[in-house]
C-alpha cells in the first residue's frame, strides 16, 4: 500500500494540467486511474463526495456511515417515487457501500449485448481480464456466512432449487473484511502519478472542435465557491449511472446517437422477511451470502430473476415491513428472529434520464408488466423457500400489508397483483444510459468505452451496459474499465503523440 495523494479542501482557484482527468472514483474510475497511473501517465480524479478513511469509518456506527456515504443519503428516487436507487457518493463510490458480491457476466447476457448493439468482447478476452481483476480485489467464495443465510440454502435444497454461496471481494481477517476500490486500487496506485480531488463536482466540460480540451469543477465550502480548471489530454467519465448521463446531457456532448440517457435498467428488487421461532440474530452474519439462481438467465436462458440472502439493518428493515408506528414497531420486535432475502429482476432497459428546467437529472422508470410478473413470481418463490426452511410467518415486500402464515397462503401474493405501486422496490444496480455498441447508430460508446463522437472521451461505469446484466455488476464494471484502460495505453502513442 502507498499513501493516497488526496486533497479534500481548497483555498483558492487553481488550474491543473494532466494527461488524464477522471470524473468519479468508483468501480470504473478507480480501475482506469490505477492502470494509467501505473503506466506513468499523470492522472487527476475528481470526486463529488468526501473522503472517509478506514479510521473515520471505524469510529462510527454502520448507520452513521451509510447515512453519510449514500448519494442523497439514500433518498434518490425515480420521477414517480416508486423506486429508491442506492449509490455511493464518496471516494471509492458504490464499492464502499455495497456488499462486494462478484459475478462474471452470464454468457446469455453477453449474447444479448452482441445481438442488440454489436458489443465486440470475446469470451477469452473478458475471461482473462476477469481473472486479473478478481486477483486484485481478492475474490473468494463465501464460507461461514451465518444462520440467516443458511435459511435460504436449506429451503432451496428442500425444494430442489439450484443455488450456491456467492463470491465476494473480501479477506478473512477479523471475520471478513470487504475490499473496495479504495483498498484494492487507489491506495495501491503510484501517488506521484495519481491525485484525487475530493469534494469537487465537475460542472462543465469544454469542447474544442472534436475534442475535449478542459473540465471545470467546483469545490463549495461554507463561504465561497472555488473553481478548479483542468486541462487534460483524455477525459474519462465514471460518475456512475445517472450522473454520467446527466453530465453529458448538461454539456450537450457525445449524443449524436440520441441514446444518452436511454435504456436504463435497475435490477429492481423487493424483499421478503421470514420470521422463525428461534433466534437468528443476523447482525452476527455476513451481509449477503447465498443465492438461488434457479430462475436466473443461466438456467432459464432468458432474462429472469435472482434470489439472494441479505442482512438488513433496522432502518431498512422498518421501511421494508408494513404498518405505521406501533404496528411497524411490532415487526422490529421480531428483528432477531428474522431472515431476509431479496429477489432481483433482470429487467427491460426502458428507463430514461432527462434534465428538468433546473438542469437536474430526472429518472423516469416504472416496472413493465412483464417485470412486475417476474417480481411477483420471485416473491412467491422466496416465500416457498422460507416455508420449506421452517419459517412461521412470511412478510412480502408489497405496499399493502401481506403476511403469509403458511404455504397455503401463497394465493394472497397472486391476489395482490403487480400493478403500479404494488411493491416496495429498490435498486442497488442502476445500469445503462450511455450504452455500448458497434456504431453511433445504436450506441454512445464503442466496446472500448470510447465515445463514438469525441475521440478523447471515455465513459467507464455501469452506464455503458446495453442491457442489465442479471447478476451483481461491480466485477463487470471493473473488468470493462480495466480493458478500456489497456486499450488507452495501447493507443498511447496515437493519443499523446
Amino acid at each position: 500500500m502507498t499513501a493516497l495523494n488526496i486533497q479534500t479542501t481548497f483555498d483558492a482557484d487553481e488550474t491543473k494540467n494532466v494527461d488524464v482527468c477522471i470524473i468519479g472514483t468508483g468501480a470504473g474510475g478507480a480501475v482506469v486511474g490505477y492502470h494509467l497511473a501505473q503506466a506513468g501517465l499523470k492522472v487527476l480524479m475528481l470526486e463529488k463526495g468526501d473522503y472517509y478513511s478506514h479510521d473515520d469509518i471505524k469510529s462510527e456506527t454502520r448507520e452513521e456511515n451509510l447515512h453519510k456515504l449514500w448519494k442523497n443519503r439514500g433518498a434518490q428516487l425515480t420521477k414517480l417515487p416508486l423506486l429508491a436507487i442506492t449509490q455511493g457518493e464518496c471516494v471509492g463510490g458504490s464499492t464502499i457501500i455495497n456488499y462486494g458480491i462478484c459475478f462474471r457476466i452470464p454468457n446469455e447476457t453477453l449474447d444479448i449485448w452482441k445481438s442488440e448493439t454489436g458489443v465486440e468482447f470475446s469470451q477469452d478476452e473478458l475471461g482473462k481480464e476477469y481473472s486479473e481483476v478478481e486477483k486484485q480485489i481478492q475474490v473468494r467464495q463465501i464460507t461461514d456466512a451465518g444462520t440467516s443465510h443458511e435459511k435460504l440454502e436449506i429451503g432451496c435444497k428442500a425444494l430442489g432449487y439450484s443455488g450456491s454461496w456467492m463470491y465476494k471481494n473480501y479477506i478473512t481477517d477479523e471475520g471478513g473484511i470487504k475490499q473496495n476500490v479504495l483498498l484494492s486500487y487507489l491506495e495501491k496506485a503510484k501517488p506521484e502519478n495519481l491525485e484525487i480531488y475530493a469534494n469537487c463536482k465537475a460542472t462543465k466540460i469544454i469542447k474544442n472542435g472534436d475534442k475535449i480540451s478542459g473540465i471545470q469543477a467546483v469545490h463549495t465550502n461554507l463561504n465561497e465557491t472555488i473553481t478548479i480548471d483542468v486541462k487534460s489530454t483524455i477525459l474519462v467519465i465514471s460518475a456512475g449511472t445517472i450522473a454520467s448521463s446527466e453530465l453529458l446531457l448538461q454539456n450537450k456532448i457525445a449524443n449524436s446517437s440520441g441514446y444518452v440517457g436511454t435504456h436504463l435498467g435497475f435490477h429492481p428488487a423487493s424483499s421478503v422477511i421470514a420470521q422463525f421461532d428461534h433466534v437468528i440474530d443476523g447482525q452476527n452474519d455476513l451481509s449477503m451470502a447465498y443465492h438461488c439462481n434457479h430462475f436466473g438467465i443461466e438456467k432459464t436462458h432468458e432474462p429472469g430473476m435472482m434470489i439472494e440472502s441479505i442482512f438488513i439493518p433496522p432502518s431498512t428493515f422498518s421501511a421494508a415491513t408494513p404498518g405505521i408506528g406501533k404496528e411497524n414497531a411490532e415487526f422490529l420486535e421480531k428483528y432477531d428472529h428474522s431472515a431476509v432475502a431479496g429477489v432481483m429482476i433482470q429487467d427491460e432497459a426502458h428507463g430514461t434520464v432527462s434534465l428538468n428546467w433546473s438542469k437536474d437529472a430526472v429518472v423516469d422508470y416504472t416496472l413493465s408488466d412483464n417485470d412486475g410478473k417476474k417480481l411477483l413470481e420471485g416473491l412467491k418463490a422466496i416465500a416457498k423457500i422460507f416455508f420449506a426452511a421452517g419459517a412461521k410467518k412470511v412478510i412480502t415486500g408489497h405496499i399493502q400489508k401481506t403476511i403469509l402464515e403458511s404455504i397455503d397462503d401463497l394465493h394472497i401474493i397472486d391476489e395482490r397483483g403487480f400493478g403500479l405501486g404494488s411493491f416496495r422496490t429498490a435498486s442497488a444496480h442502476p445500469q445503462g444510459g450511455n450504452r455500448m455498441g458497434a456504431t453511433k447508430k445504436n450506441s454512445v460508446v464503442n466496446s472500448n468505452c470510447r465515445s463514438h463522437d469525441i475521440k478523447n472521451l471515455y465513459i467507464c461505469d455501469a452506464s455503458v451496459f446495453p442491457t442489465p446484466l442479471g447478476v451483481n455488476p461491480q466485477l463487470t464494471v471493473m473488468t470493462i474499465a480495466s480493458l478500456a484502460a489497456k486499450k488507452i495505453l495501447e493507443q498511447k502513442t496515437d493519443i499523446f503523440g
Binding site: 452513521e64 433518498a75 422498518s318 421501511a319
Partner: protein, 227 residues
C-alpha cells in the same frame, strides 16, 4: 371603491390559491414531481390577473386614478397571498415533527431518552430531505402540504365516516394516527403515507438511541469497512 376593495381581496385570494392550485394540479396530474420553477408561473399568473382586473375596473368605473391605485396595490396583496401560502407550504418541518411525535409516543414514563430519540429522528429526517435533489424535495414538500391540509384531512377522514375540519398538525395525537391509518389503507392512494412512514421509520431506526429496544448492537466492524 367597492370594486377596489373586492378586487384587492380577490388579489390576496388569487395569490394564496395560485400556490395551492399549482401544487394540487401537480398531485392530481399524478406527477409527484416538479421542476422547481413554480415562481415563474406565479409571476405570469400575477401579471395576467393584474392586467385583467385593472382593465375591468377601468371599464366599470372609467376612473383612471382608481385604476392606477388598483394596479399599484393589487400586486402587493397578490404577493402577500402567495407569501402566506408559501409560508404554509414551508411548514413541512412542523408537519414532519408532528408525525414523528404521533407515530412514536412515549410509552414508558421512565424512558428518559425518548425526547432525545425523537429529536434525533427529526434531525436525521431533515438531513435526508436536505440532501435530496431539489425537484424531489419539492415533491415531498407537496406531499407534506397536501397531507396537512384541511382538504385532505376532511375527505380522507370522511371515508371512515369521521368529520374532521382541521389541519393535521392541529389534530389530537390519536386523530393524527387514525388519519394516517385511514389513508394508508386506501389502495392506490397509500403511496403518500407509505413514503412518509418510510422516511420517518428509517430515521428513527438509524438513531442508535432506538437500538436497545430491539437488541441491535450496530456493530459494523467485524464485517468491516461497510460490510
Amino acid at each position: 371603491m367597492l370594486y377596489l376593495v373586492s378586487s384587492l381581496l380577490i388579489g390576496y385570494g388569487i395569490g394564496f390559491f395560485t400556490v395551492k392550485i399549482n401544487y394540487l394540479l401537480v398531485i392530481f396530474l399524478g406527477k409527484l414531481w416538479s421542476s422547481g420553477n413554480a415562481q415563474r408561473r406565479y409571476v405570469l399568473v400575477g401579471g395576467i390577473v393584474t392586467v385583467m382586473y385593472g382593465a375591468m375596473i377601468f371599464y366599470q368605473t372609467n376612473d383612471f386614478v382608481l385604476t392606477l391605485v388598483f394596479v399599484a396595490v393589487f400586486p402587493v396583496l397578490l404577493v402577500s397571498g402567495i407569501k402566506h401560502a408559501m409560508h404554509r407550504f414551508n411548514q413541512y418541518i412542523d408537519v414532519l415533527n408532528a408525525l414523528i411525535q404521533s407515530l412514536f409516543p412515549k410509552e414508558d414514563p421512565n424512558d428518559d431518552q425518548h425526547e432525545a430519540l425523537l429529536a434525533d429522528t427529526s434531525k436525521i429526517s431533515q438531513e435526508m430531505l436536505g440532501s435530496m435533489r431539489k425537484s424531489q424535495l419539492e415533491s415531498l414538500k407537496i406531499l407534506f402540504f397536501f397531507f396537512d391540509s384541511i382538504f385532505a384531512v376532511f375527505f380522507i377522514s370522511l371515508i371512515k365516516g369521521k368529520l374532521r375540519f382541521s389541519r393535521f398538525i392541529n389534530l389530537s395525537k390519536e386523530d393524527q394516527v387514525d388519519y394516517m391509518h385511514i389513508w394508508a389503507a386506501i389502495e392506490g392512494l397509500n403511496l403518500g403515507p407509505v413514503a412518509l412512514k418510510a422516511l420517518i421509520g428509517y430515521s428513527y431506526y438509524t438513531s442508535h438511541l432506538s437500538w436497545d429496544k430491539i437488541g441491535y448492537r450496530g456493530e459494523v466492524l467485524r464485517r468491516s469497512y461497510i460490510n
